[in-house]
């Protein structure tokens, strides 16, 4: 996607968040209100101005036709990997999820040979187990309780 366009969309969402925060802050009691109110009002005004100036800039630049493109699809795929991994942890627990995630990722994305992927996964899972027992590290709880 076009970077300038994305920037405008992003600024607009920030503007919306600030405005929403300001309106919500009005419902807080006096003691809790002043700080978020100051911040969000300042944020709304500034992001409003910035948004305005960006849009104007965009109109001017249109004639020049110079556009920086930002990749969208590939990052989304990777973000989906991470989200999928998190969901998997939620479903089947950290250990199993990590094993599946690692093998799948290494084979699909890193183009590892199956054997090498298994071997690296083994080491990594071993490290996790060693770490968590010795460093007393907790794992997220999952639905099936592993």
């Amino acid at each position: 996607m076009n970077k300038e366009k994305l920037n405008v969309i992003f600024t607009f969402s920030i503007f919306i968040v600030f405005v929403w925060a300001a309106i919500t802050a009005l419902t807080f009691s006096r003691l809790a209100q002043f700080f978020p109110l100051y911040v969000s009002v300042a944020g709304s005004i500034l992001s409003g101005f910035y948004l305005f100036s960006e849009i104007i800039k965009r109109f001017k630049q249109k004639e020049k036709g110079e556009k920086v493109r930002v990749p969208i699809i590939r990052p989304c795929i990777y973000i989906a990997w991470v989200i999928g991994y998190i969901l998997l942890i939620y479903l089947i627990g950290l250990l199993l999820a990590s094993t599946i995630f690692l093998i799948a990722f290494l084979v699909v994305e890193s183009k590892f040979a199956i054997f090498k992927a298994l071997y690296s996964t083994g080491i990594a899972v071993g490290v996790i187990i060693v770490l968590s027992t010795l460093l007393n590290i907790s794992w997220p709880q999952s639905l099936i309780g592993i």
């Binding site: 690296s120 080491i123 490290v127 060693v130 770490l131 010795l134 460093l135």
Partner: protein, 372 residues
Amino acid sequence: MKKMYTLTLTIMLCLFLVGCNNFSFISSNSASSESQEYDEDLLTMVVPYGSGGGTDVFARFMTGPLSKHIKNSPNIQAENIPGGGSITGANEYITSYERDGTNLLTTSASTHIPYLLGQSSVKYSFEELTPLVGAPTGGVVYGSKELGIEDGFDLGKVEEKLYYAGMSPTGLDLTTLLSFEVLELDAKAVLGYEGRGPARVAFEQGESNIDFQTTSAYKQNIEPKVEEGEAVPLYSLGQIDENGEVVRDPQFPNLPTIKEAYEEIHGKKPQGQAWETYKHFLNATYTLQKVIWVHKDAPENTKEELKKAANALIEDEQFQEESSAILEDYGTYSQDEIERRINNMEKNISEDTLEWVREFLLEEHGVDVSKL
């Protein structure tokens, strides 16, 4: 490239092992011996606070002596569940810990207050819990020498504006704020400090001129100031006795309680809703400040074993000696006594008291309890 990859992984692994092996050396030393007769060899102590705080230290300290008196000395492992001002952890104890008597919970005043106020986020209830061990603490209110008074009996003569530095109206400060209300002191409460320590610094700077500290902090930091003449002890918050009356704090036998101060200033015994509320919160936040619980519906025989262990603690001289720093020399209650006290507290709470304190918080400090 492949080589490097393996190399790095191996290095990472080695690193972890090096770092961790050191560690396992200590842990193997300190792990307590386990035996086979008793079916429980591992108990969990849920601590709804982060590591290193007062309650965490208390809980961790108690695991050792408590385990010693339980049959077969099971290992008691402290588990911190921080967040939500201790509500998260206490809720979790009720909702997702097995009620088989292997899970214990340590609570403190800041766990008790949200329950007493009936906050909607609270899912725990004293009715679902059986207290095992309980320990009190005390509090002393003191003033700056600038106030120009000698003791708490002169509080009525103070002409300077009183400033009090505190953290939050629904925390431990509540009891002190209620004590001001009882004494009809017009003290401006500046709340929002990070803790009792920073509040004490505010006192030293003159940012506040009336303050309170709990027993050991008072003895450590304020008593030297009293000797130097910088601070004046005014009154102790007192303790609640078996009959529900305010009595002198055993750690401060020479310091008048708020009750005596009131009688001196106003020439009559304190009474009314403010006084009733004060006593109720004094009980829940000081006299019963730290409590270790087990699920009420845990198996009866396990509960009996735990109760027996709690009672044995009081007899244990070694425990009394070791615990003096952590329990501030107050000692613990026997299990029967703590259970009786909790039951009394539950019985004595009236809707009027609750209504009054909610009104007090809303009008004086702008806190709407129903929104919490």
